[in-house]
């Protein structure tokens, strides 16, 4: 059995014959020329472009959702008039249609590839359009995948474009393997959405021969060629075991000895609610309200806000719903407020509650809308403010909440000053919610957006655990709503530090529930003590795991 290794980005195991997505469309030879009829050649290219664009649009319409936007944008690229005129110029100079298309696309490709972020990511989309047009001109089989197959196949490719994956389902694809891509690549995202195992960044993947039986483990990143029957059944069995461990952990979150830990969902808008409910969230621990305010020239009316808040409250009758008031700042400016003076360090500038000192009416309107939304619903509405640094700010916010008729006012703990004086803030606030990402950013004075400084964002940094412990020791209920809570091992440590509730993206809920159910509160405390005694994040992680043997059941 030959084994390739890549990065597992979507868990589970899959087995089936390899289906190699078309080898790359060959580059038309430089200097290739057409037969001397430029008008006919342009018409031939135009017809090919139109077929490709229409096909992309049709796939997008069939798939719907985000795929429709992506494929629609690709159709616009295919029909781009500036591109067409470059192609026509090249053809007029004698270049063959295929080569003209190739060269014209490459000019734009270079421009986009030099940019960062969003634009660079569009390069794959542009390449895909180019290859489709050239394949069409060369009469190569239209790229695409069998939408049905006698047995599910393992899709192998250099990288996958949205057009490739738009119509795939779990029934036809057993697993994905790509040579390129990372954890946020299109392949990883689509695989997780479909619930299909995937391995990306797998060197040598595209030399796998079509039809080769392939076993893929999307947790470990293993890609085994021609495995034995025993190996296949063992891998599928352990993936199933893991699955059953996850599905068997149901009900409210608690440690093995019954210490309750509320498991809540982070929600960024009404679209996230169904997922949160289906994964057993016991409420909402962080409802971000920015979606109502950003990207608009006029602020939302209180009526519009009330309707949006009521939607989330009605999804969780009898449960806590923690709403964070608007968290805007120089990096997330609001179109309907006058621009603030230039702030050289937005993260250290007027953010969160600090904005409301100037624009108090925005906050008061939001609190009023929340109070009205809660009338007649059974959810337990709690409201909290971001970027609170002092007890005086906490009191100011709590007073505003009481004036609006809101029963529970809390603060986010994301500034070290607030964590260090948690006792004073607890006298003013009804609850705490720790935002670990910003707390790490401010504790280490390390911009969380900077890739070069990611080590400081590691939630296992012992100093961060110290700040969490200080916060949790204060005399009010304390939750964690940062990324840290979605790591099952870290979740156990947070509980050991005294945290009462954990809020996370819905997909992490079953994992955290299962991890807590496998450990006693004493084990969680021992893991927390061991982690705090360490001096580095790596040591803390290793030290904690020694006290958390049940993580092995989850293959974590």
């Amino acid at each position: 059995m030959e084994v390739l290794t890549g990065a597992g980005v979507s868990p589970g195991a899959g087995y089936g014959p390899a289906y190699l997505l078309r080898a790359d469309v060959p580059e038309p030879a430089a200097g290739s020329r057409h037969g001397g009829d430029p008008v006919g050649e342009v018409a031939r290219v135009e017809a090919a472009v139109e077929r490709v664009a229409a096909d992309l649009e049709e796939r997008g319409e069939t798939a719907g959702g985000e795929a429709r936007d992506v494929l629609g944008a690709q159709a616009l690229m295919a029909r781009d008039p500036a591109l067409a005129s470059e192609v026509a110029d090249l053809i007029a100079a004698g270049t063959s249609g295929e080569r003209a298309v190739y060269e014209a696309f490459m000019r734009y490709r270079d421009t986009l590839a030099q940019a960062a972020g969003y634009l660079a990511e569009r390069v794959a989309d542009l390449d895909d359009v180019r290859d489709r047009v050239i394949a069409e001109l060369l009469g190569l089989p239209s790229p695409g995948l069998p939408g049905d197959a006698s047995e599910p196949y393992v899709l192998v490719a250099r990288d996958l474009a949205p057009a490739d994956t738009a119509l795939l389902t779990k029934e036809v694809v057993a697993a994905f393997v790509t040579e390129q891509g990372g954890p946020t690549s299109h392949t990883a995202i689509i695989a997780r959405a479909l619930g299909v195992p995937a391995v990306v960044a797998c060197a040598g993947a595209t030399i796998i021969v079509n039809g080769t039986p392939v076993l893929v483990d999307g947790t470990t990143g293993m890609v085994a060629l021609v495995p034995s029957e025993e190996e296949v059944s063992a891998a599928l069995r352990s993936a199933r075991d893991r699955e059953s461990v996850l599905t068997s952990a149901t009900g409210p979150g608690a440690t093995a000895d019954g210490h309750p830990v509320a498991l809540l969902a982070n929600v960024g808008g009404p679209g996230d609610l169904a997922d949160a409910v289906s994964r057993g969230a016991e409420g909402v621990g962080l409802y971000r309200t920015e979606f109502l305010f950003l990207d608009r020239g006029q602020g939302p009316s209180e009526e519009e806000q009330e309707a949006a808040y009521r939607e989330v409250l009605e999804a969780f009758p009898g449960r806590p719903v923690v709403v964070r008031v608007l968290d805007s700042g120089a990096d997330k400016p609001l179109g309907f407020l006058p621009p603030t003076a230039e702030q050289p360090n937005p993260a250290l500038g007027e953010r969160g509650i600090r904005v409301f000192r100037t624009f108090t009416d925005v906050m008061v309107g939001q609190l009023r809308a929340l109070a009205r939304a809660a009338e007649g619903t059974e959810a337990r509405l709690q409201v909290m403010a971001p970027m609170v640094a002092t007890a005086a700010e906490a009191r100011w916010f709590a007073d505003a909440c009481r004036a609006a008729g809101l029963p529970s006012a809390g603060v986010m703990i994301e500034i070290p000053a607030a964590a260090l004086r948690a006792g004073e803030l607890a006298a003013e606030a009804d609850f705490f919610s720790i935002g670990t990402n910003d707390l790490a950013q401010y504790a280490f004075a390390a911009d969380r957006q900077l890739g070069a400084l990611t080590e400081f964002q590691d939630p296992w940094q012992p100093v961060l655990l110290d700040l969490v412990a200080m916060t949790a020791a204060a005399d009010v209920p304390c939750g964690v709503c940062g990324e840290a809570g979605s790591d099952p091992a870290m979740a156990c440590v947070l509980v050991g530090l005294g945290v009462d509730s954990l809020s996370m993206g819905a997909p992490a809920l079953p994992w955290v529930r299962a991890a807590l159910a496998r450990h006693t509160l004493a084990q969680c405390r021992a893991a927390a003590t061991a982690a705090r005694a360490a001096t580095t994040a790596e040591e803390a992680r290793a030290a904690a795991r020694e006290h958390l043997p049940g993580l092995a059941d989850l293959a974590l």
Binding site: A73, L76, M77, A82, Y108, Y118, L119, D295
Partner: protein
Amino acid sequence: MPERKVIVESEVGLHARPAARFVQTAAKAPIDVTVAKPGGTPVNAKSILSILALDVRHGEAIVIHADGDGAEQLLDELAAIVSTS
């Protein structure tokens, strides 16, 4: 020649969905339309690749030009796309 100077309000700048809507709207018009950053070289507003390559971010200004029948109305439509969202 009629023109509008507008601030791009969409969070993603003149990219993704706003860029697609912008180009689709421009492409439907039978007249020439261009976009430029203030003082920059104008590009064809019907070309998604040229628009993307301009790399207009949230909060930046653009100048939209159009010439011919219905230019004013088209400019209003295009300005609305980038200044709301």
